[in-house]
Symmetry: C2
Subunit: 163 residues, 2 copies
DNA sequence: ATTAAAGTTTACTTTTTTGTACATTATAAT
DNA sequence: ATTATAATGTACAAAAAAGTAAACTTTAAT
């Protein structure tokens, strides 16, 4: 199980846009420079994020991209699902069925149950974490240069228990 | 995040081999029929499993594949890592770094920390589960036809708390 | 009105993953 | 020894994911 490029870069772009202070948002050239990705590549990623409703575009000169909703209303788990799918879905059994219409393991399927177990664990780990939490965590952790990772983790954990 | 074909089919083949009662193991043609996969495809999957040390082959007529170790000694988490990699590894930052040598987010990287959080959750969910647990769970759940899934889950959970 | 800077769309290329084909090697049974 | 059945290795083909290129549309500034 790996993270796909789309999940990784999609999330980075969301964080960049959410962190921006500008009113008319971040442009493709700006994000391209910040993240060191080619402009067409950024354009492609942002088009996915726009079509899935996470960002809005402002066209014309001086335009760019802004969040479609407040960062508090954007769950990381939703965002990741949109960018890279889920480990387990009810339709899972239609995916890997070799050379037959219906999966051979219909009925009690130990593997299916394993994937569901993993999915539940992931959902629990991400439960309640919003884009806002990531941004805040980043800001707080940036203050001092010691224990940054631990601080960030704490911030996230604190945000989660409140929900 | 999705399960790769290699993880899915690799695990299925391991379960098939581990469940077999035969002394000289299961052959490629047999697994091919059981799982409805082409013989070359099964051959490829088994070659990976053999090279990573999970199964041993018995060549020549009447040959096949058997587990390289007892199913109690095969952790599902290890098996899955071998087949499909891990969500988070210490070398993660070398993977997605756009057009530069070193990732732009060196230092406090919120995404990195998220992936690690997910990895920890997955490891915890699979902790202690062995191939043997899956086989036993399957056998027990097969007894009655009601509540099969719940029974299977229970079996796995019981196996885990003992460790 | 024209221009420049931005997003949008479509098509393409490259790379990785997935799956196939077939010739080769090994061994048990005859 | 020969044959049948099985694994092994190498090369190839197809599909999916990742990334690039370029023509087109929109809008603010001049």
């Amino acid at each position: 199980m790996k993270i796909s490029a789309q999940e990784e870069y999609g999330l980075r772009c969301m964080i960049a846009i959410a962190s921006s202070k500008k009113d008319n948002g971040l442009s493709i050239p700006e994000i391209s420079k910040m993240e060191r990705l080619s402009e067409p590549h950024v354009a492609k990623i942002l088009s996915i994020l726009r079509k899935t409703g996470y960002i809005k575009s402002i066209r014309g000169q001086g335009g760019g991209y802004i969040l479609a909703r407040s960062p508090e209303a954007i769950l990381i788990s939703d965002l990741l699902s949109s960018l890279g799918g889920r480990v387990f879905t009810p339709e899972f059994c239609d995916r890997f069925n070799g050379h037959t219409e219906e999966c051979v393991h219909k009925g009690v399927c130990p593997i299916n149950i394993l994937w569901e177990k993993i999915q539940i664990a992931i959902d629990r780990a991400l439960h309640g974490i919003t884009l806002s939490d990531i941004i805040k965590g980043l800001n707080n952790a940036g203050d001092k240069n010691s224990n940054q990772k631990h601080l960030f983790m704490q911030n996230i954990a604190n945000a989660q228990v409140k929900r």
